[in-house]
């Protein structure tokens, strides 16, 4: 087993009621496993509502079978464009 950190940023922190959490994953966990666990937390990933990032790359840009390492960090935040 390994544990990775997930940070909730922006408005998602308020929705989740916490700034971060951890995911318990099997040793050979993949990007797809992370996505599934995030969905299980109620995070919408299948539309453009939220953006999930793994080690500074978009989670959806990575191969689903890419292996996860214990020190990996996930960030999730709402997909918002800036105003002035």
């Amino acid at each position: 087993m390994m544990v990775i950190n997930v940070k909730f940023l922006g408005g998602l922190r308020q929705d989740m009621g916490m700034a971060s959490t951890t995911l318990d994953l099997p040793d050979n966990a993949t990007v797809a496993d992370v996505e599934n666990q995030l969905r299980a937390l109620g995070i919408e990933l299948d539309t453009q509502v939220n953006i999930a990032v793994l080690n500074q790359c978009g989670l959806s840009q990575l191969p689903p079978d890419q292996q996860i390492a214990p020190d990996d960090v996930v960030m999730v935040f709402p997909n918002i464009a800036g105003g002035s």
């Binding site: 922006g10 408005g11 922190r13 978009g58 840009q61 464009a81 800036g82 105003g83």
Partner: protein, 614 residues
């Protein structure tokens, strides 16, 4: 061709003679250029010559609405300003929310053109087809909101509110990035439209009309509006909850937050937390702000209730926070609210103002200027009081502010060596994303139709994190991405619709027919992306006519320096990397290697006959 959506006419006001005329807008132009930004570009190509300078009496201003502006749908608030702007000295398009666009349409017009210049300071009142001029020399020096209040005091009661535009002291002093304020909280922020209006001695305008904007199918519009409201409740819930300010945290965590004038692009979270959206919400939020017929209400009005900046009230958006905050070394939301409020009072663009105050701070840090150069005022990173004073100096043209007020072009003329400390393209400073962490933003800034803008240039951040074929640190593929985003944005800006809600109407790169059919009776959907491309190419033709070529599609020297800290440490954009992106961008656009549209591209888009451009 159209059974709704357009009034098909504009009102032209000559300020020198006070003559007013009403002119038709040919249907074919509406079909080719849609409205707002598109119509503005087409008008500018005919009426503003490349020789005219921004403050010349021959410069003109056009305010065009789009076919959706003022219709009974949600967030149909936008209208567009087109003029020659002082910040870049070139074509300027700018859009704003508020009630002015909708009211102009209810008065019976798709567009308003101002030309000539008044002898005295003037307020213009448009009520349906009637136009009155008020001499308002004694309004000089008023803040935009006070000029608005003074104007409203003198107008008769009507069943709905009058809409207004007004300018402040910065515009009167010809600050190159002075804004035009719309109603009580929106603005044509970028590019210096306020200074152009001041050059015509127009302090304020008001408009009211009593004719609802016609639509082709009122029942269908009602149904679409109801569906959009339902969609927006969930799809834009986050905008309502915390506004765009919530970008501060992720953009910093992604290592792209301008800090200390882009010398770095990341700040310790425990410091930058002071300007998080959550901080704004928990400590300062008093209410949300909604534009015309908007159910999202994304504006977050904040008021400082205690401490040094007590009483300051503003509606800070992400860009304003980033550039008046961390880019100036300031991580105190109260200070940002105060600076935002002061920019609103003086009537200046927060993005350029923040950028140029940060530049002054860096000049002090490097010992390149001293208090002696600035009427005794030292301005250092992290010093909020000095930032506020510097903003006043700019608006009043005091100390270094006398140079800063002329914008990037004026600074470069007076002190060419300061160029390496200015983050800009074509004279317009960067928005609050460091392109070294999203290389597509670099191409967007370099090729935007008005300078380094995240809106007109194309907001690549989401796609660079979500698009399967993109890597945010790669240069390949960014040409196609930026072109697509720019063309999409060009048609949305021409509809008269806020970009925040466009998804609710399916105004994507593959738009559906329903909404425009219900409004105009014409199936625009198959043409919308082509219209966007046509507008992008026309704007480029205008730029080419005004001297722009590949050398101007550039990024500042700092982008070649490797980021020294944070998650994107070591990343940079070299000239060679920008060249790869430009080559791809020009190729997908159908432009030559200097960025000039090819004849076959113009023919394909129906632009070959545009006079004086080919």
């Amino acid at each position: 061709m159209f059974s709704g959506g357009y009034l098909g006419r504009l009102i032209r006001i000559n300020l020198s003679t006070r003559q007013v005329s009403i002119e038709p807008i040919p249907e074919e132009k509406l079909r080719l250029f849609l409205g707002a930004r598109g119509l503005g570009a087409e008008w500018y190509s005919r009426e503003v010559s490349p020789q005219v300078k921004p403050f010349d009496i021959e410069n003109k201003m056009a305010f065009f609405a789009g076919p959706m502006t003022g219709t009974p749908l949600v967030s149909t608030t936008k209208f567009d300003l087109t003029t020659k702007g002082p910040e870049t000295g070139r074509y300027l398009c700018s859009n704003a929310s508020g009630n002015f666009g909708p009211r102009l349409r209810e008065a019976g017009f798709d567009g308003l053109i101002l030309e000539g210049a008044s002898e005295h300071w003037t307020a213009i009142v448009i009520e349906n087809e009637g136009v009155k001029f008020m001499d308002v020399d004694d309004w000089q020096g008023l803040y935009p909101m006070d000029a608005r209040a003074r104007l409203l005091d003198q107008l008769p009661e009507r069943p709905t509110k009058w809409a207004t535009m007004s300018i402040g002291p910065a515009a009167e002093n010809r600050v190159a990035f002075a804004a035009i304020f719309v109603d009580d909280g929106r603005a044509f922020g970028r590019g210096g439209g306020g200074a152009v209006l001041a050059s015509k001695k127009v302090k304020a305008l008001a408009v009211w009309g009593d004719t609802p904007v016609p639509v082709a199918n009122a029942a269908k519009c009602k149904e679409i509006a109801a569906n959009a409201r339902t969609d927006l409740k969930t799809s834009r819930a986050k905008h309502r909850q915390l506004g765009t300010a919530q970008l501060v945290e992720p953009i910093n965590e992604l290592g792209c937050m301008p800090t200390r004038n882009f010398q770095t692009s990341w700040e310790l979270p425990e410091k930058v937390e002071g300007v998080y959206a959550q901080t704004l919400h928990d400590r300062y939020h008093v209410r949300n702000y909604a534009c015309y017929r908007c159910t999202v209400a994304c504006g977050q009005v904040g008021k400082v209730k205690e401490g040094a900046f007590t009483g300051a009230t503003a509606r800070p958006e992400y860009e304003s926070i980033g550039l008046l905050g961390p880019s100036c070394g300031i991580n105190d939301m109260a200070a940002v609210i105060s600076a935002n409020e002061l920019c609103d009072q003086l009537g200046m663009d927060t993005i350029t103002a923040g950028n140029l105050v940060a530049m002054v701070m860096e000049l002090f840090e490097r010992g390149l200027v001293s208090a002696q150069d600035n009427e005794g005022l030292e301005v250092h990173f992290g010093d909020a009081r000095a930032m506020l004073e510097m903003l006043r100096y700019i608006a009043q043209r005091r100390g270094l502010g006398a140079i800063i007020a002329d914008g990037v072009r004026g600074i470069l003329q007076a002190h060419p060596k300061w160029g390496k400390f200015i983050l800009h393209s074509k004279g317009m400073p960067f928005a609050a994303y460091d392109p070294r962490g999203f290389h597509g933003m670099g191409l967007a800034y370099a090729t935007s139709a008005r300078g380094a803008c995240h809106n007109v240039g194309g907001y690549t951040v989401s796609e660079e994190l979500m698009g399967k074929k993109y890597d945010r640190f790669a240069v390949e593929g960014k040409g196609q991405l930026v072109k697509t985003l720019q063309d999409n944005r060009a048609y949305v800006d021409s509809l008269g619709l806020c970009t925040v809600v466009r998804g609710a109407y399916k105004f994507t790169t593959t738009p559906t027919s329903e909404t425009m059919l219900a409004i105009t009776g014409y199936d625009f959907a198959p043409e919308l992306m082509t219209i966007g491309e046509r507008i992008s190419n026309l704007e480029r033709l205008i730029f080419v006519r005004e001297g722009v070529s590949r050398k101007d599609d550039s990024l500042p020297p700092r982008m070649k320096e490797a980021v020294p800290n944070g998650p994107v440490t070591g990343h940079f954009i070299s000239d060679d990397m920008l060249d790869v992106m430009l080559d791809e961008y020009y190729a997908v656009r159908g432009w030559d290697d200097q960025g000039k549209p090819l004849r076959e591209t113009l023919q394909k888009l129906g632009l070959a006959e545009i006079p004086a451009l080919a």
